[in-house]
Symmetry: D2
Subunit: 138 residues, 4 copies
């Protein structure tokens, strides 16, 4: 997140929005924000959103995410929002959406879903063999 210059823009229970300015290093040579950068932001936003609903000391791991890129990400700033649609005992499903600011107007440029594995403090001795790596931690 530091590498990308990301800031937390908004936080509420089950929803986190990250923001970043579109610096040259994040762009393709045609000026678009790279899909992977959008995915990085969205994955983190979904992880944080899930954490916002879990007890202190919990950890989250991305099981998978799927993102459709619906518009060229041309603009000067990006907002990436993760929102928990369903929180189960061990798995959460988040909706992910990124918007890009073009001439002062925010337009949706990426949208998708994410499965998150939740490890609560009491599960601390769990080490899920399959699941990924920490997608976000406070």
């Amino acid at each position: 997140m530091k590498l990308l210059g990301v800031r937390i823009f908004r936080v509420s229970k089950g929803m986190v929005e990250l923001s970043v300015s579109n610096r040259p290093a994040l762009r393709q040579q045609d000026g678009f924000v790279h899909a992977g950068i959008l995915a990085t932001l969205l994955d983190s936003a979904g992880g944080y959103a899930t954490l916002s609903l879990l007890p202190p000391g919990s950890r989250v791991l991305a099981v998978e995410f799927k993102i459709n890129f619906t518009r060229p990400a041309v603009g000067d700033a990006v907002h990436a929002r993760g929102r928990v649609r369903k929180l189960g005992r061990t798995i959460a499903v988040c909706e992910l959406e990124a918007k890009i600011r073009q001439n002062g107007k925010w337009k949706s440029c990426a949208w998708g879903s994410q499965t998150v594995y939740c490890i609560k403090p009491t599960d601390a001795n769990e080490s899920p063999a399959i699941i990924a790596r920490t997608s976000a931690q406070p």
Copy 2:
């Protein structure tokens, strides 16, 4: 790609493999490579792999990708491979896989699929309204 320090490791018709060293900036505080970084590498690898099968001057756009994270990405180097499974007239489907080197052994840590939109030079006047942004360009 420059921001991440990525190198092209291998290229053949329909297959591209990128490699990157696991520098501190790419890691979470627990030392894992961030899922978004893996997605960035994989998206690029799939885009390049598709380009390797298209006429010179073609462009590619990621429509979507979906990635499962199957192992904590703890290690000192990452290989990300994109392989075209099906090339149609306008759409390609790629298989994506990332491996991480742990104590000298390569282990699969992320795996998924990607839909790529292909714009050939003769289609140059096309500007697909929906499709994303350039995922890779030579």
Copy 3:
């Protein structure tokens, strides 16, 4: 659709909702509606929703879909809704959601996204080599 006993429940521009009663043949032995049945309904709903925005004589093909199953589909009826989130020149992205009626209350049990390829009448000579099979036709 006939095999499953599906009815069109609601249609508006860019949104179609299908409904089906939970007959024994659609269930697992534990009484859940099979994930594949939900996927069948959702795929069709998204295809029809896209068609509702296209000129008469158009066809649609599912490029891919991804569905999260967020609750056991136990209940006596299912609604499957497809909604177009973005319509491009050749590709549409739909949001898919299924709800199940449990003791008179509708609860979300599946949610996901779909990429649809659009063939308009003027494109009639197109035969996209890769894209799938008709997901829905009026």
Copy 4:
């Protein structure tokens, strides 16, 4: 499965292949096998493949699947194969692929991935709030 007339074609540790004849009821009016039918077969194949690696009495639940449709499913028979790529303590990831027989030759027509939640007999008191419904049971 009975509704569709599915047979188990091949079973080995971590791999299950189902087969079905392309009867009129499974087709669209243009003769393609419906994407949802392919998804139903693939979801079941992945669930069974996972079960083949678990202790007797285990159950599996589909968390999500994503499928790309890579060729019109025109032909007289379908094989749907699920293969476990990674089995963790609670989650498995499967590769799914369907082939269709056209004039005696088998061609890939759908390909994707599936996340499966595993409930072992000792976990019998677990009732994962979020995860789906039984995708397959012996």
